[in-house]
Structures are given as structure tokens and as C-alpha cells.
């Protein structure tokens, strides 16, 4: 690790996280370099940086995953440090090593730590040795091997993450098809079909601890995030602090998380994920060796800027001595996905035709889109994160419900309205969350369009016998069809 001061940072990512990191760099006076695929050259993150390097065609393999092109970009622009964001190359130890070998500063953990935590089976062994509690599991997926884990269990991609390539198996008959389908998904998503299985706790919470290490070997915990609301193992709503975590439990979980990080010589920002059982026992799930998508709830609840801390630690500075020991507020984040909640949450693609973000006290939006943005099959369908902070959980919740009610996305279907309805369910209001809640929760259906909305649509879609609509130009920003001016048309 060449942790030393630098002046210019290349951000090897796109979308909202690239915007987030580039903004932090600009704030601190660093020179900034963005990289973009051909699909993203005019996007917000590409325009934000001082310099832009085109990586290649839209598919990630030829752009944001093309390690050598990113290193070339750093060389060509004189960038001295690389921040990987999350996803893409952020947990690729070989890339981290290549960055360091090129004489650049890697704004992330040591490659050995990434490697140690990257493969689930060895990492669990290591955690067990370090005294961190782990869930029973095996990589022997024969009926004999599975018998030691029992049912229900979850079959996962060993190289996985982000919920891709996972299947819950409740009976022996389900095992073979689950393994087959999981293996195919693992191969497609990670190029590695290795699987493992572990005990599936019936109604656990997902609670993770933010950790931070510096080059002097100091590792601190910065509280927990409750991420129990997941659909298909993808997080949907996160908050800090967790409604289920007392100061005493936080202390025990923090101690385990710090032990986990120290066991692999961790430096910079990382997250230790635990499953928390109803009785207060918790088990190591995995360590994410990067900044998390949901880092804003820690920032808002603890009054920190984690990206700024990442830059300082990468520059060789020690962690500040006066980091907070307790949260000073409550924060909740809702992830806005391009998906259709009324039709099996199918991912949506298209052009964002109108976009408005909410603001106001305690409201923060991390996003990378704007009107005109293309949402394509090439990248993650997450468009934005809407975060609200309050003195209490209820104040944060009310602010988030209202903020989502002021979020406008037209042209691509999103889950914004569904998120609002979710945040108003009695279960969420009471904070009674677990990782399977979204599977059984009855989120109220969206309202039918009221008469005035229907008549507006009818006018927009034209009169006549219906043929007029058939010959309408595709995707025209609709010219003002109304004379009274009592509305706005956005294109």
C-alpha cells in the first residue's frame, strides 16, 4: 500500500456513486478525472469532473470493468489515486494490486484484505478463528454434506455479492434444481460457478457495522445499519441506527466487527455484515471491502463524511481522534430502482423524460440521472437514493415519505410510489423488520388514476378513432395541448 498524499483522483465508476465521490474530491480541492463508457459521455458524472476519459463501448466488460483501460486513463491524465466506488472493480484484488504496482494510491483496503474476504468459504474460516460468530455452512452440496447444515438453507455463489446467484432450499427435493439454476447465475454474473450453502435463519435481521481502519493499525466501528428490507436479497430500505440494536448490543457487534477487520489487516472503509437473530445472537455473514451503497445513512445519523475519511486515510493520515461514539440523529434511505413493482419488479429500461428531486430540511438525494438520461440493460437499475434524517426515527420516516412524494420520474417506471406505501405500513412504522418481511408484507396497491388524471391522459393521447394515437411520433416532448396553463409539461 503506497498511502501518501495525492492531488488528482480518478473515479473508476459511473452514476450516483461517481457523482458522490467526485463531489467529495472537488470539495477538498483535488483534481478530478471521470471515466465513461460511450453510453455515459454526456452523463452527470462525466460532466462533473475536470477531465473525462472515454473507456469504450457500453458493456461494462469493455468499459468500467476494463482494468487496463482505466490504468491507461490514470496514466494519460496524471491522476495519482483511484477511487473505485462500489460494484465494478471495487472488490477486485488483482485490480487493486495493479493500481498499487502502477505507483498509484488505491483508495480502498489492501488487496490482501479484499482477497481474504472475497471468497466466502475461506473468509468464514478465518472469522471463526478470529472468534467472530459464523453461521454453520458447507461447500459440500451433496445430500450428505447438506445434512450437516440442515433445512432450510441458502445456496449462494461463492464469488457472489449483491444478492445475485442465491436460492433458499427448504426441502431435499428443491436442492438439485436450486443448485443448477444458482450455478448458471453464478457463472453468468461472476464467471465462477462455485457454490456454498449455509443455514438459513428463519426471521433474522440484517444488521451491518461500518468499520474504518487507518495505516497505523487503528480500526474503529461507526455504528450499525439496519438493512433487513431486502427483495431477492437486494437491499431496498436501510436505516441507522437499527430499531433493534441497544447500546449494549451495538458494543458487542462493534467489537466483533473490529476483530473481523483486524484479522485481515483492514485499512480504509469496510462493512461487516451480520444476521441478527431475535434473541440478540448474531452471525458473521460477509465483509464488504468497499464503501457501501447505503453509506449515506451512517453519514447522516453520525454526522460524518465517509468519502472524505477514505481520501484522508488513503493519503496516509490517521483517523481523526474525535470520531463520534454514538449516533446524533436517525437516518433512513430508500433506493429508487427502475423497476415495475406491480409486475414482479421487472427491471425497466428507457429514457428519463422528466426528473425532479426533493429537497428541504434533513433530505438528501444521491443520484446520477437527470431528464434525458438513458436507463439501459448494461448497468445497475438503481437510479437514486433518497435519504431523510430526523431527531427521531419517526421524524426521519415522515420526511422520507414526503420527500418520495415529491420525487418525479417520468419515462421509466420506478418503485417510488411503492416505497412510499412501504414506509407507511404498520410493520415499518413499528420497526418490526426482518429479511423475509418484504416477501410476506402486503404493501397496499397503488391508487387508480383519478378522473382528472384520466381526462388529462385522454387529451394527451389524442382524439379521433384511435388511429391518431397509432401514428403519433414516438417520444415527442409533448407540445402544450392545453390553453389554460394550469399545469407543467416537461420534456
Amino acid at each position: 500500500m503506497n498511502l501518501r498524499p495525492f492531488r488528482k483522483v480518478l473515479v473508476a465508476n459511473r452514476g450516483e456513486i461517481a457523482v458522490r465521490v467526485l463531489t467529495a474530491c472537488r470539495t477538498l480541492g483535488y483534481g478530478t478525472v471521470a471515466v465513461a463508457s460511450e453510453a455515459d459521455v454526456a452523463s452527470r458524472h462525466a460532466r462533473l469532473a475536470d477531465e473525462l476519459v472515454l473507456l469504450g463501448p457500453a458493456p461494462a466488460r469493455e468499459s468500467y470493468l476494463a482494468a487496463s483501460r482505466i490504468l491507461d486513463a490514470a496514466r494519460a491524465t496524471g491522476a495519482e489515486a483511484i477511487h473505485p466506488g462500489f460494484g465494478f472493480l471495487s472488490e477486485n484484488a488483482a485490480f487493486a494490486r495493479a493500481v498499487i504496482d502502477a505507483g498509484l494510491v488505491w483508495i480502498g483496503p489492501p488487496p490482501d484484505a479484499i482477497e481474504a474476504m472475497g471468497l466466502k468459504v475461506p473468509s468464514r474460516e478465518r472469522m471463526r478463528t478470529a472468534g467472530v460468530p459464523v453461521v454453520p455452512g458447507t461447500h459440500d452440496l451433496t445430500p450428505e454434506g447438506i445434512a450437516k447444515v440442515g433445512f432450510p438453507h441458502v445456496v449462494k455463489a461463492s464469488a457472489g455479492g449483491g444478492g445475485k446467484g442465491m436460492r433458499v432450499v427448504r426441502a431435499e427435493a428443491e436442492l438439485a434444481p436450486a443448485v443448477e439454476s444458482c450455478r448458471r447465475e453464478a457463472e453468468a454474473a461472476f464467471g465462477d460457478p462455485t457454490l456454498y450453502a449455509e443455514r438459513y435463519l428463519e426471521h433474522p435481521r440484517h444488521v451491518e457495522i461500518q468499520v474504518f481502519g487507518d495505516a497505523r493499525g487503528r480500526v474503529v466501528a461507526l455504528g450499525e445499519r439496519e438493512c433487513s428490507l431486502q427483495r431477492r436479497h437486494q437491499k431496498v430500505v436501510e436505516e441507522s441506527p437499527s430499531p433493534a440494536v441497544s447500546p449494549e448490543l451495538r458494543a458487542r457487534m462493534s467489537e466483533a466487527a473490529v476483530a473481523a477487520a483486524k484479522a485481515v489487516g483492514y485499512v480504509n472503509a469496510g462493512t461487516v455484515e451480520f444476521l441478527l437473530d431475535a434473541d440478540g445472537s448474531f452471525y458473521f455473514l460477509e465483509m464488504n471491502t468497499r464503501l457501501q451503497v447505503e453509506h449515506p445513512v451512517t453519514e447522516e445519523a453520525w454526522g460524518l463524511d465517509l468519502v472524505t475519511l477514505q481520501l484522508a486515510v488513503a493519503a496516509g493520515e490517521p483517523l481523526p481522534p474525535d470520531l463520534p461514539a454514538v449516533p446524533s440523529a436517525h437516518a433512513i434511505e430508500a433506493r429508487v430502482y427502475a423497476e415495475d413493482p406491480e409486475n414482479g419488479f421487472l427491471p425497466q429500461v428507457g429514457t428519463v423524460l422528466a426528473y425532479e428531486e426533493p429537497g428541504g430540511p434533513g433530505v438528501r438525494v444521491d443520484s446520477g440521472i437527470e431528464a434525458g438520461s438513458e436507463v439501459s440493460v448494461h448497468y445497475d437499475p438503481m437510479l437514486a437514493k433518497v435519504v431523510a434524517r430526523g431527531r427521531t426515527r419517526e421524524e426521519a420516516r415522515l420526511r422520507l415519505v414526503d420527500a418520495l412524494g415529491r420525487t418525479v420520474v417520468l419515462g421509466v417506471a420506478t418503485n417510488v410510489s411503492w416505497l412510499r406505501r412501504l414506509l407507511q405500513t404498520p410493520e415499518f412504522v413499528r420497526g418490526e423488520l426482518d429479511t423475509s418481511l418484504l416477501g410476506r408484507l402486503e404493501v397496499p396497491a397503488p391508487p387508480d388514476p383519478p378522473p382528472d388524471v384520466l381526462s388529462a391522459a385522454a387529451r394527451l393521447l389524442g382524439g379521433g378513432d384511435g388511429r391518431a394515437a397509432m401514428t403519433a411520433p414516438a417520444r415527442a416532448a409533448f407540445p402544450d395541448p392545453f390553453a389554460d396553463g394550469s399545469f407543467r409539461v416537461l420534456g
Partner: protein, 128 residues
């Protein structure tokens, strides 16, 4: 004119006579679809095609809800299906999505086989 809510599939009869657009609403038209945002809700609204031939096609065709690749075919032509019968698996965004029959009937035709690419709106199946 009748209007279909493209999320729920419910067909609505707009009130006769032209009313004002609701205050504060945002609207935009994209081809056959009107997007309307009002008071925190977003609707995708399409005009129901009243021509007999076109209406029939709309009722009986199952279209791809997203671009992707057909992973597996789970039903056979000629099979009787109920609402929710799994028909095929579409792989997109590195995830597998089960495409189910939107209505009961007879599966007359499957337009795609495993391994084929499909674009948004491509016909997948015909259900009578």
C-alpha cells in the same frame, strides 16, 4: 375513448368533457403512453385500441416486459394454463425472471425458445 393503466392492466373510462389538468401535475407523452405524475403517484396510461382486430391481438399476446435472453421454456404449446402458470424464464440484468401467464386459457403459441434474445415488447406467447 378508454384508458388502460399499464401497471395494473385496469381499463378506465375517462369522464366526458375536457377538464383542467390537476394542479401541480407533470405530464409527458411517449409514443402510445401518457405519463402522468400527480401528488406523489405516477401513472402510465395507454389508450385502449377499439378496432376489433387490434383489440384481440392486445388481449391475447404476451409481450416481453423487458429485453433479455430466454433462459428456459417452462410450458408447452397446446397446454391449458391458469393465471400465474410459469411460461418461461427471461434472464436480464444478470437475474432470472419467471414470465407467467397473465390469464387462464390455452397456450396456442410460444414464439421463443431457450437461448434467444428478446427485445422489450416482443411477442412471447399467444394465449386463447
Amino acid at each position: 375513448m378508454r384508458i388502460r393503466d399499464l401497471s395494473t392492466g385496469v381499463v378506465h373510462e375517462p369522464p366526458s368533457g375536457a377538464g383542467d389538468l390537476p394542479r401541480g401535475a407533470r405530464v409527458v407523452r411517449d409514443g402510445f403512453v401518457a405519463w402522468v405524475w400527480h401528488r406523489g403517484e405516477t401513472w402510465r396510461l395507454g389508450r385502449v385500441v377499439e378496432k376489433p382486430g387490434a383489440a384481440e391481438e392486445e388481449e391475447h399476446d404476451l409481450r416481453a416486459p423487458m429485453p433479455g435472453v430466454v433462459g428456459r421454456v417452462l410450458a408447452e404449446e397446446g397446454q391449458e394454463v391458469v393465471k400465474g402458470t410459469p411460461l418461461l424464464v427471461l434472464t436480464a440484468m444478470k437475474m432470472e425472471h419467471e414470465i407467467r401467464s397473465p390469464r387462464p386459457g390455452k397456450l396456442v403459441k410460444l414464439f421463443r425458445t431457450a437461448g434467444e434474445r428478446v427485445d422489450l415488447g416482443d411477442p412471447l406467447a399467444e394465449i386463447e
